[in-house]
């Protein structure tokens, strides 16, 4: 029926247009005319009133009325879809309350449609999905049953993210980022290598957890970023073991930690002690040696180092005070 109607009226349209003489626009016009005329004939045929328009089509009742109480919700919302008020049998309200009233209802509520919903990920759905995905998984090695064992055997950890979204393209540029984490204690580094490594990586090392994180995102593909991260780790390791000739020029200012030997504090305390004649008699150098061996001086040394290396706290200051008093015998 529809196509016959369209054919008849297409010919009508064409005769009209050929009179006007515009062929090209005529094509589109014929198509449009066919549709409108068709709908009007439909109205006449299917309409309930002989004169006047068809009665207005009612909005219809939402399908929540027909939903059984024990229906399978995972079939109603199988995938992530926007909120559909007629398919969700919950009396939700959302939005700023109408004046002296309540938040607006769910029908036609844009606020509910805008936000992401997780109606497709109810616990029942997740259980079903896990069951369905189990065949794709392999078994976990039985020897790796604790976290420590995993860390011990596989100290390098790689993390990357996959993105899924609805759109014309499945690619997402953020998927190329690779994070590589490794504990520095797993790497075989001596003191010098450790210090050099820390200087080389700078911010990427977290002191509290002893984890070095290398994030690579400069290459366009994830595989390339992974290779780059591995290369960086290897290079860092080897570089930190090498000793360059210019490293001998390391000054006191480059040191990571404060060491008391040969510092101004040592000189000062020794000079002070000599001046106040607490030291014994003898040559300068021997006296200094002797002083350094004394217990109070050692305690003083500890307290100064603690103050400088750790965060200043009440306890450290008190310890320093005690040490000073002991040394100066005050």
């Amino acid at each position: 029926m529809a196509s016959f109607g369209s054919k008849v009226f297409l010919s009508l349209g064409r005769t009209n247009v050929s009179g006007v003489g515009f062929r090209k626009t005529g094509n589109r016009a014929t198509y449009a005319t066919a549709l409108t005329v068709n709908s009007s004939t439909n109205k006449a045929r299917g309409g309930k009133g002989s004169t006047g328009r068809r009665p207005k089509r009612g909005p219809g009742e939402p399908r929540t009325e027909k939903m059984a109480l024990d229906q399978d919700w995972t079939s109603v919302y199988p995938a992530a879809t926007p909120f559909r008020a007629n398919a969700i049998p919950l009396p939700l309200r959302m939005g700023y309350p109408v004046k002296r009233g309540i938040p607006p209802e769910k029908k036609g509520n844009l606020e509910l449609i805008k936000i992401p919903n997780f109606l497709h990920l109810t616990p029942a759905a997740i259980r079903k999905h896990c069951e369905a995905l189990k065949p794709f998984c392999t078994e976990w090695p039985s020897a790796l049953d604790t976290d420590t064992k995993c860390d011990e055997h596989f100290p390098v950890k790689i993390q990357s993210t996959d993105y899924v979204s609805a759109g014309p393209s499945i690619r997402n540029p953020s998927a190329r980022v690779v994070h590589m984490k490794v504990r520095l204690s797993c790497l075989n580094l001596d003191d010098h290598a450790q210090k050099k490594m820390l200087k080389l990586v700078g911010d990427r090392y977290c002191k509290d957890s002893d984890i070095l994180t290398i994030t690579t995102e400069s290459c366009p593909l994830r595989q390339q970023n992974y290779d780059h991260a591995m290369y960086l780790l290897t290079v860092l390791y080897h570089e930190s073991w090498k000793i360059e000739p210019w490293e001998a020029e390391k000054t006191r200012a480059d040191m990571e930690e404060y060491s008391w030997e040969d510092s101004t504090s040592q000189k000062n305390i020794l000079d002070t002690l000599l001046r106040i004649n607490l030291a014994g008699e003898g040559e300068e150098a021997e006296v200094r040696e002797q002083l350094l061996g004394r217990e109070e001086v050692l305690e003083y040394k500890d307290s100064v180092e603690t103050l400088k290396n750790e965060e200043p706290s009440e306890r450290n200051m008190l310890r320093y005070k005690e040490a000073v008093r002991k040394v100066l015998k005050v």
């Binding site: 029926m1 529809a2 196509s3 016959f4 054919k7 297409l10 010919s11 064409r14 094509n27 014929t30 198509y31 309930k48 009133g49 002989s50 089509r57 909005p59 219809g60 009742e61 939402p62 399908r63 027909k66 939903m67 059984a68 229906q71 399978d72 995972t74 079939s75 109603v76 199988p78 559909r84 007629n86 398919a87 999905h129 069951e131 369905a132 995905l133 794709f136 998984c137 392999t138 090695p141 020897a143 790796l144 055997h153 596989f154 100290p155 390098v156 790689i158 014309p168 393209s169 499945i170 690619r171 590589m180 797993c186 790497l187 075989n188 001596d190 591995m230 290897t234 073991w241 090498k242």
Partner: protein, 667 residues
């Protein structure tokens, strides 16, 4: 994470040589080239007491396997609208007519969009999709090659431009270029398929020529014919296909095949047979497609049964002689041709099935459909014993998943369900339905018309045979997502409700009837009203019935053309009375007068009773007057009752006593 460790270890090993060279720079205590990974490998070698860590091999799967696995967790949602429509109660179809209209309009919109994209390819060059989706990009529909050459001919053939291809071929012949056999085959196939006319471009206006040709043929069809009839053309004498065929220096089986199949498709049956004779005379062997085509038109060529069978047998014998292997369609065409005469069909169908088995061809659903029809509908004696055939068929097909191999496959389920309905066999009906639910078999239910037939018959069977709870369960499952019941189906449902005395559900059924658009079917509405008005029910049920009756009335009022009938008016009045809606019932009486219908005496006496309950004597008097106006025989009794039961003042009394006396005097 074995991979990174192995990776690191590998690096260490590679650089080991450098480390050895620099050994004097290393600290003495440092062991050579060890990271914890290598340590691990070393310990693995040395300490077998430690448990070996076996990393299992990664499984591989194809791209869609994960999605398919997740999709298998989802079942059909019974309340959902058909998936191609918007999920909104306003925008989805409510009746079968709307369903057809909406799906056709969607398709036509898509075709229009495709047409615009293809005719303006320069506007659609940017490709957003990643990975590339070829069907969204413009296809080339315009010809690119203009010169006279074989490539240009091939291009026209692939773009399905029949007349242009024929022209190009003629030009090639004139210019003396030889056209290869392959291309000639393709050209003949093209011409015969489209019956020498250009195929209709989707969405484009038809050409002038086609319209004129239509008129020439005198194929002015009346309104209401289906689209497919327009596309059936007749094979004209000496059209291009025949002409080219005759011009060919040598004709082989494929050329004959193209022509014979074209003739069969477009109605020139006798010619097809003549051409086949020609082929035999030229001592060529036909192929299986030719035989299939010829067998399928045997009924049109021979009129008498035994002649038909002889011809089929002859064709089959020739097929055997020429060592052409029959395929599924051969057997299906034989069965289809034999449908007309059941005796022979009955005799030969087991033989046909055996042959198929011997050849290793699995029968398709079309085969079974032909067999079922032959055994049940064309035979004189069909009885319950024949259900055994259907039983056997279903047992054999149980759990099998089908693909469509024959266009007639889609008729199987509808026919099987019709059989179950006619023989009122519920168990077999359930078996057929379970076959539909296996795997992808729902695709073989056919288009919306066939699907409507199948589900309609299934639902009718359920209404007849099952008790009401099961019926209602199926009703909620298949209506309206899979089936828009027709008025007969709704009537069956009403019958089922009546049988199991669940008449309290009638108002909900009325709502569904209204949504389905069957509220203009007078007999259905009348049956509904009579069921409601027949018996007395509890108070809430009466209330709901009265509301329903008012709804029916408003529907009738909205349609001034439709005629009220006496019974519907009286039913509505009774229902309103029972629910004590006296004023509305009184309006109904006025309607009686307006529509020139006569109420029954019983109705008026029940009115009187209601008036007594509400103690309105004026009404009673009016009632008596009304009854007299309709010249009902019960007027005197009414008058008597009024006088007896009501408190009337003198005026009223006088009026009423008039009527009590002599009804004959009043006209």
């Amino acid at each position: 994470m074995a991979a990174p460790c192995r990776h690191v270890g590998h690096h260490i090993q590679k650089n080991g040589r450098f480390l050895r060279i620099n050994i004097n720079q290393l600290f003495a205590c440092r062991s050579f080239g060890l990271t914890s990974a290598l340590q691990q490998q070393a310990t693995d070698l040395h300490k077998e007491s430690k448990e070996a860590i076996i990393i299992p091999r990664k499984k591989s799967w194809n791209k869609e396997a994960v999605l398919e696995a997740l999709a298998s967790t989802v079942q059909r949602d019974p309340t959902a609208y058909p998936y191609q429509f918007q999920d909104d109660p306003y925008l989805s179809p409510r009746t079968s007519v709307e369903f057809k209209l909406f799906s056709l309009s969607q398709e036509s919109g898509r075709a229009a969009a495709k047409y615009f994209v293809n005719s303006n390819p320069k506007l659609f060059t940017k490709d957003f999709a990643e990975p590339h989706i070829p069907c969204l990009m413009p296809e080339s529909v315009a010809l690119r090659l203009e010169e006279v050459s074989q490539e240009a001919l091939e291009e026209r053939i692939s773009l399905r431009k029949v007349s242009a291809a024929v022209e190009m071929y003629d030009q090639l012949l004139q210019s003396g270029t030889a056209v290869s056999m392959e291309t000639t085959h393709k050209l003949l196939d093209l011409i015969c398929l489209y019956c020498d006319r250009d195929p209709v471009q989707e969405g484009a206006p038809q050409t002038e020529d086609r319209e004129e040709e239509e008129e020439e043929d005198g194929r002015r069809k009346p309104m209401g014919r289906r689209v497919t009839d327009f596309l059936k053309f007749t094979w004209k004498e000496n059209n291009n296909a025949e002409r080219i065929f005759n011009l060919l220096p040598e004709r082989d089986t494929r050329c004959y095949s193209a022509l014979i199949r074209g003739m069969v498709k477009h109605g020139a049956y006798a010619k097809a047979f003549n051409l086949y004779e020609d082929l035999l005379n030229n001592r060529l062997s036909a192929d299986v497609h030719i035989f299939n085509a010829l067998i399928s038109v045997v009924p049109d060529v021979r009129k008498k049964n035994n002649e038909r069978w002889d011809l089929i047998a002859e064709l089959l014998n020739q097929m055997n002689e020429q060592k052409v292997r029959p395929n599924l369609l051969t057997f299906n065409s034989v069965l289809k041709a034999l449908r007309q005469f059941s005796f022979l069909a009955k005799t030969f169908s087991p033989q046909i099935l055996n042959e198929m088995k011997a050849l290793g061809i699995a029968p398709s659903l079309a085969t079974y459909e032909h067999i079922l029809t032959v055994f049940f509908y064309k035979s004189a004696s069909s009885g319950p014993s024949n259900m055994a055939v259907l039983q056997d068929v279903l047992t054999e097909l149980e759990g099998t998943s089908f693909t469509c191999q024959d266009p007639n496959d889609v008729l199987f389920f509808a026919t099987a369900m019709k059989l179950c309905l006619d023989n009122k066999d519920l168990e077999l009906g359930y078996k057929v339905h379970s076959l539909v639910e296996v795997g992808e078999n729902w695709r073989l239910l056919g288009d919306s018309y066939q699907q409507g037939l199948y589900y309609g018959r299934f639902f009718n069977l359920l209404c007849l045979m099952e008790d009401i709870d099961v019926v209602l369960k199926w009703y909620s499952r298949i209506v309206p997502s899979l089936l828009y019941p027709n008025p007969q189906g709704m009537k069956n449902l009403l019958q089922a409700l009546d049988t199991d005395s669940r008449l309290d559900l009638l108002p909900t059924i009325w709502k569904d009837i209204k949504t389905l658009g069957h509220d203009n079917k007078v007999d259905l509405v009348e049956e509904l009203l009579s069921l409601m008005a027949r018996d007395e029910h509890s108070v809430e049920v009466q209330e709901s019935f009265a509301a329903c009756a008012l709804d029916v009335k408003s529907v009738f009022d909205g349609r001034p053309k439709k005629e009220w009938s006496t019974s519907s008016l009286s039913h509505i009045s009774i229902l309103l009375l029972r629910a004590n809606k006296l004023q509305k019932a009184w309006d109904m009486l006025q309607l009686f007068k307006d529509k020139n219908r006569v109420p029954s005496g019983a109705l008026l006496s029940s009115f009187l009773t209601a008036c007594r309950c509400s103690a309105s004597p004026q009404r009673a008097v009016e009632l008596v007057q009304l009854s007299a106006a309709f010249s009902l025989p019960t007027t005197p009794e009414l008058a008597k009752r009024t006088l007896a039961e009501f408190e009337l003042n003198d005026e009223q009394r006088s009026i009423v006593s008039e009527f009590e006396a002599a009804p004959e005097k009043e006209e």
